[in-house]
């Protein structure tokens, strides 16, 4: 598969997601169903490798890129992984510029509070996952 197309498809998936595996449905549609450059099993393997290695879970797109286009595809996957993160700079500048406004400070406070609640929800899900993982590991001994 053409490296530029790999980058474009992976970027479409990463830029429209807001969490590690949020890009998965779009990637499944594009790479498995539309272009058929990998099987569902290979996609599962890419996710497994991404989840099993240290670092961001979303880095599984590097494995998807490799499976779709070899080493150039892996580089395209890495670029698609990091490109959306650069949007944090204008966002940060915008927020800092308007932080003297009471409404902006209130909005940021609210986002921080909501983020904390979302984190608790994530932690609860992770607790269940971790408990299941531990049970599986020790019952299969």
């Amino acid at each position: 598969m053409n490296t530029l197309l790999v980058y474009a498809l992976l970027l479409k998936a990463t830029v429209t997601s807001f969490a590690g595996l949020g890009s998965l449905p779009q990637i499944q549609r594009d790479f498995v169903e539309t272009y058929q450059v990998m099987s569902a099993e290979q996609l599962s393997q890419a996710v497994l490798i991404g989840r099993s290695t240290p670092g961001p879970v979303g880095a599984y797109v590097v494995a998807v890129g490799y499976l779709a286009g070899g080493w150039p595809g892996a580089v395209a996957g890495w670029l698609a992984l990091i490109t959306p993160a650069l949007a944090a700079i204008p966002l940060l500048l915008m927020v800092q510029r308007w932080m003297h406004l009471q409404h902006m400070r209130a909005a940021v406070d609210a986002i921080v509070l909501a983020s904390a609640v979302l984190l608790v929800a994530t932690a609860v899900r992770l607790t269940i996952d971790a408990a299941q993982q531990l049970v599986r590991v020790f019952t299969q001994a």
């Binding site: 807001f18 240290p54 590097v62 892996a74 890495w78 959306p84 949007a87 944090a88 940021v108 921080v112």
Partner: protein, 179 residues
């Protein structure tokens, strides 16, 4: 507040992001601990970066790294943090994929991953508590609780995180009275 050198920044980010499995929130907590402990970041700065990273598309922890790097060392810092946060893990993933390693067939690997996930849970709870704590120790606690309740309600209705954050932001401008 002091600033790290590019080398210190690169090393700190690479180490903290790449020693957790199971998601970026645990890594963000490790980064917060490291940067606060060394005097490179304060609690309000962390809260701001956290809020921005949640609103940025893509992988939250990389957005956190970019915002963190930008705040402590400008454009070069953002680049260094982005490289430190993404390159080591991506290299490992690409090499594992290339060798089509069946890494989960070894019991020791599964045990290590399960323990790593359990540690990540503790770190994520800790990250949530550090974000909440300042609001709990100052006036306006009831208003903060209203925002949290709205978030919980939207979460239970399966509203996407970004929409939830935007609704919370709008509600915040109407309800909260910042210090």
């Amino acid at each position: 507040m002091t600033s790290p050198s590019f080398g210190e920044l690169l090393w700190a980010v690479a180490r903290d992001v790449n020693r957790t499995v199971g998601g970026g929130y645990a890594a963000m907590e490790l980064l917060r601990r490291t940067f606060v402990k060394r005097g490179w970041l304060d609690a309000p700065g962390n809260a701001l970066i956290n809020a921005v990273s949640r609103l940025t598309p893509g992988t939250n922890v990389l957005a956190y790294c970019v915002a963190l790097g930008w705040r402590v060392r400008g454009a070069g810092g953002a680049l260094a943090a982005l490289i430190g946060g993404s390159v080591p893990g991506s290299l490992v993933i690409a090499m594992l994929t290339a060798t089509v390693a069946q890494i989960d067939q070894y019991r020791s690997v599964r045990v290590a991953l399960a323990i790593g996930s359990a540690i990540a849970v503790v770190l994520v709870f800790s990250a949530a508590w550090h974000l909440l704590r300042p609001y709990w120790s100052r006036p306006g606690r009831a208003r903060a609780a209203v925002i949290m309740a709205i978030t919980g309600l939207l979460l239970s209705l399966d509203v996407t995180p970004v929409r939830t954050l935007l609704v919370a932001a709008v509600a915040g401008t109407l309800i909260l009275k910042p210090e």
